[in-house]
């Protein structure tokens, strides 16, 4: 990696030329316009240039057609989220311009496909420069293929960014290296057509309005949370997955359907989520490391299964890629609104919240091991953005991965026992586990209350002992549960608290708050349940803590108050309109609050 593409020495318009080390691009149009492809070509270009990347998309709930937008942030420093404004917009229709306009940087640039006419007037600020290029018409008229809009558009954009034509072409060739030669040349022709049109439209080679930096990052992975989580599960020895298609969790099913069979495993598409979690429970009972996954409406259906795991003491990872609810809600929109559901029910479990895409890998391994250790449910709380958005992360340390089988007994160990009781009362609450097939380990597993042998019993003393035994399992691992990520001034009187996808935005906001004179410390908990002391202490130790979350009722604030943190110190910042927080939102709100206090 890290091939430097030298920016051209700047030509005319030097005064207006901006140099970017952090740029936000949006490409939008009707679904099928190839927006996603242009974004991914740009992605490859910036990756080549050593930038850190973050990419997301926004697809309307129409089925085909309908507005589709792809976003890309490329920055020299890692960002972990989109920026506050859009610097460059490639728009294939009026709607794209209208949607983007409020978020456009005042000195931004728009490339507009003018095949059907000029862009809408009065929408964009005057300071924004617009290049009108009939991209669609060119593709159809000159190349007879509408699809080639993407390479034409790419060509134009490289001229705006001041990328050397050869370097751009190199990146394109690299990106398409696996397609047939003829197809490659067609794409290159389209790219060149884009360049030619750029020439004619005020974007000559060597005289670009903008230039971009060199990144210089080491080799990274560009990966989404769902991919990283799936990969972690595989590496942690996960061999069975069951799910049911649902946005935004489907990619986990797809990923594992492709990969697990290569390792002797299986990923099943169940008839519904009730079935999915019970399929996984069945596999888990045999000792196979298993997982079930879904999103809001399906996760709620999995609750009966989760309580069975808690009661019957079966290890399973359950991943919930949260989306905007309630009910069917807004399937493609971000929210963090299942926390209440994740912690409901009177049984022990652990709820983990990966901090970012890279952490999804680590946490998946941790969750898979932990489920074996506590012989119970471990829930992983992802969210739409963390699940589906891709970003550059450090390569994973595969050689460091270790498996923990907890108290699973080998056949020899069982043979050496005088007596075996599946639900033996132990100090750490975990009972030695014999899986079916082992001679001498015959046992009864049930979701009813039962005695040490697994025979159903409602005897009060036994009941009490069993509830307490199960509770001890969590206490025995509490010290090992993932601590949160912290940034900022450890002594700051003001704190920011938020999990998952909110983390990077808090980090960006903190930098700016510090500049504005408000020092803060950030805690991004990675264990939501049990509520760790560090979280309660974090709040107790501060004058005021802003609890930042994507839901309407402040579920995280509710959770940590229940865990003992003083509610009166907390100020909720809630966003539930389906769009992600921007750093600027947090900064503005907090500065205003702090000024008024």
């Amino acid at each position: 990696m890290n091939v430097a593409i030298k920016p051209e020495p700047s030509g005319g318009q030097a005064a207006a030329r901006r140099h970017f080390s952090d740029i936000n691009v949006m490409v939008a149009g009707q679904g099928g316009d190839g927006s996603l492809t242009i974004a991914s070509l740009l992605s490859a270009l910036f990756a080549h240039r050593g930038f850190h990347l973050y990419s997301t998309s926004n697809i309307a709930s129409r089925i085909k057609g309908g507005h589709a937008a792809a976003y890309l942030r490329a920055s020299v420093k890692p960002s972990g989220c989109m920026g506050d404004v859009i610097d460059l917009l490639v728009a294939f229709d009026d709607e794209a311009v209208e949607i983007a306009a409020p978020a456009m940087a005042p000195d931004g640039i728009v490339v507009f496909d003018s095949s059907k006419g000029p862009p809408p007037t009065g929408v964009l600020a005057d300071t924004i420069r617009v290049f009108e290029i009939p991209i669609g018409r060119l593709a159809v008229r000159d190349l007879r293929r509408d699809l080639l809009k993407n390479c034409i558009g790419f060509g134009v954009v490289t001229r705006i960014l001041g990328i050397d034509d050869k370097d751009a072409e190199g990146s394109l060739r690299h990106r398409f290296r696996r397609i047939p030669e003829a197809a490659m040349e067609t794409n290159i022709d389209a790219f060149r057509l884009g360049l030619a049109n750029a020439d004619e439209n005020g974007l000559p080679a060597g005289d670009s309005p903008w230039t971009v930096d060199e990144g210089g990052r080491e080799e990274h992975l560009m990966i989404s949370g769902n991919e990283a989580f799936s990969f972690g599960f595989l590496v942690a020895g996960g061999r069975f997955y069951a799910g049911y298609p649902i946005t935004p969790a489907t990619e986990i099913l797809t990923w594992l359907e492709r990969r697990l069979p290569q390792f002797g495993g299986i990923a099943m598409q169940a008839e519904d989520e009730l079935s999915a979690i019970n399929l996984a429970i069945g596999a888990a009972m045999t000792g196979v490391r298993a997982m079930a996954g879904s999103s809001g409406p399906g996760f709620v259906l999995m609750q009966e299964g989760v309580s069975q795991l808690g009661s019957a003491e079966i290890p399973l990872v359950v991943v919930d890629c949260q989306r905007a609810g309630p009910s069917t809600g807004m399937p493609t929109k971000v929210e963090q609104n299942d926390i209440g559901t994740m912690i409901s029910g009177d049984y022990p479990r652990v709820v983990l919240a990966p901090a970012d895409q890279g952490d999804c890998f680590e946490m998946s391994i941790f969750a898979t091991n932990l489920a074996q250790r506590i012989q119970g449910p471990v829930i992983a709380a992802l969210d739409r953005a963390l699940s589906q958005d891709s970003t550059t992360v450090k390569p994973f340390d595969l050689s460091g991965v270790e498996l923990d089988t907890g108290k699973r007994l080998t056949p020899d160990e069982i043979a050496g026992l005088k007596e075996y009781r599946r639900y033996l009362i132990t100090d750490d609450g975990v009972s030695p586990w014999a899986v079916p097939g082992t001679p001498g380990g015959e046992n009864l597993v049930t979701g009813n209350e039962r005695n040490e042998w697994g025979l159903v019993s409602a005897e009060p003393k036994n009941r009490k002992r069993m509830v307490e035994k199960r509770a001890r399992k969590i206490e025995s691992v509490r010290g090992d549960l993932p601590k949160g990520k912290r940034w900022g001034d450890a002594d700051a009187a003001i704190g920011l608290l938020g999990f998952g996808t909110v983390g990077a935005v808090m980090e960006r906001a903190a930098e700016r708050l510090a500049k504005a004179g408000v020092e803060v410390q950030i805690l991004q908990p990675r264990t939501l349940w049990p509520v760790l002391d560090e979280t309660v202490e974090f709040i107790r130790a501060r004058r005021r803590v802003y609890v930042i979350e994507h839901n309407a009722i402040g579920q995280l604030a509710h959770l940590v108050s229940g865990g003992g943190a003083p509610k009166e110190r907390m100020v909720s910042i809630l966003k539930f309109d389906g769009t992600p927080f921007r750093a600027v939102d947090l900064v503005d709100f907090i500065l205003e609050q702090e000024a008024s206090l």
Binding site: M1, I223, G237, V288, L403, P436, E442
Partner: protein, 278 residues
């Protein structure tokens, strides 16, 4: 030998049909000489869902209605086990109806014995989906199974006909152990407390196993026979339908027994990781 749990005494009412089912299962296990540790009895919730406690094998008490997906998970993850799912008609055809269809379709290798008493015994006698209520007929689960592509073994026994019941149980277990797929055995197992049907049912049954002209591999004929018998107020018993279940189809490997040490797979894991490199 390690001492483990002592099988429970059945908690059924005296005369409950479920005793007969337990007897048949125990008889079949003995007949086929399968070690108890290689068997897992997966049970639903209900009176019937206590059978697993009484036999001495591995046992599991599922969520109400979910015994089929759970058993499928077990059977896929560890094909070395002999998996016998048992449960009630409420469990199977009310809350579990969707899973029933999909299990027949998926055709996993395990036996499913439904103790049909036409009531919810454990919750004190409400009608189940198989109850004939006046003119309205209850669901005939054998016919339901016939309508699903993938069906490979469909039989009906009667808990009082113990010899045949054990034969059917053995046949179901052999079907499964030969990798032919899902063996569905409905047992008419009367609830003496809420709906005592020993006499009525015995009078209604026509034993197809006694009919040399009956061809259990003819799907349409099997269905037609059920319809015709129903019109006479009767119903079939015995092996109603069997196919080779696509014998030889790929059975997933025994994941439970695999080596998952990451060191063993590190090269392939690295390959996957490099596909994300930028």
């Amino acid at each position: 030998m390690t001492k483990t749990y002592t099988p429970a005494e059945p908690i059924w009412c005296a005369g409950c049909g479920d005793f007969g089912v337990q007897g048949a299962i125990e008889g079949a296990i003995a007949q086929l000489a399968i070690p108890k540790h290689d068997i897992i009895i997966m049970a639903g919730i209900g009176c019937s869902g206590t059978l697993q406690n009484n036999v001495g094998t591995y046992g599991y008490h599922a969520l109400h209605g979910r015994v089929l997906p759970t058993s499928t998970g077990v059977a896929y993850a560890n094909p070395e086990l002999t998996v016998i799912a048992v449960g009630g008609d409420g469990d199977a055809f009310a809350i579990g109806a969707g899973h029933f269809i999909h299990t027949v379709k998926r055709n996993p290798n395990f036996v499913y014995i439904v103790m049909n008493n036409s009531v919810y015994g454990l919750t004190k006698g409400q009608d189940s989906p198989t109850m004939d209520a006046g003119a309205a007929h209850g669901i005939d689960a054998t016919r339901l199974a016939l309508s699903i592509p993938g069906a490979s073994f469909i039989a009906r026994g009667f808990s009082r006909w113990s010899r045949q019941l054990q034969e059917l149980t053995v046949a179901a277990m052999e079907h499964v152990r030969a990798g032919r797929g899902f063996a569905f055995l409905e047992v008419l197992s009367p609830c003496v407390t809420y709906h005592d049907t020993y006499v009525t049912w015995e009078g209604m049954l026509e034993n197809l196993d006694d009919d040399p002209t009956y061809d259990p591999t003819d799907l349409a004929a099997a269905f037609a026979r059920g319809v015709a018998l129903e019109a006479q107020g009767r119903m079939p018993a015995g092996v109603i339908f069997r196919s080779d279940g696509g014998a030889g189809r790929k059975i997933p490997p025994a994941m439970a027994l695999q080596d998952i040490d990451p060191a063993r797979h590190i090269d392939r894991y690295n390959d996957i990781m490099s596909s994300y490199a930028v």
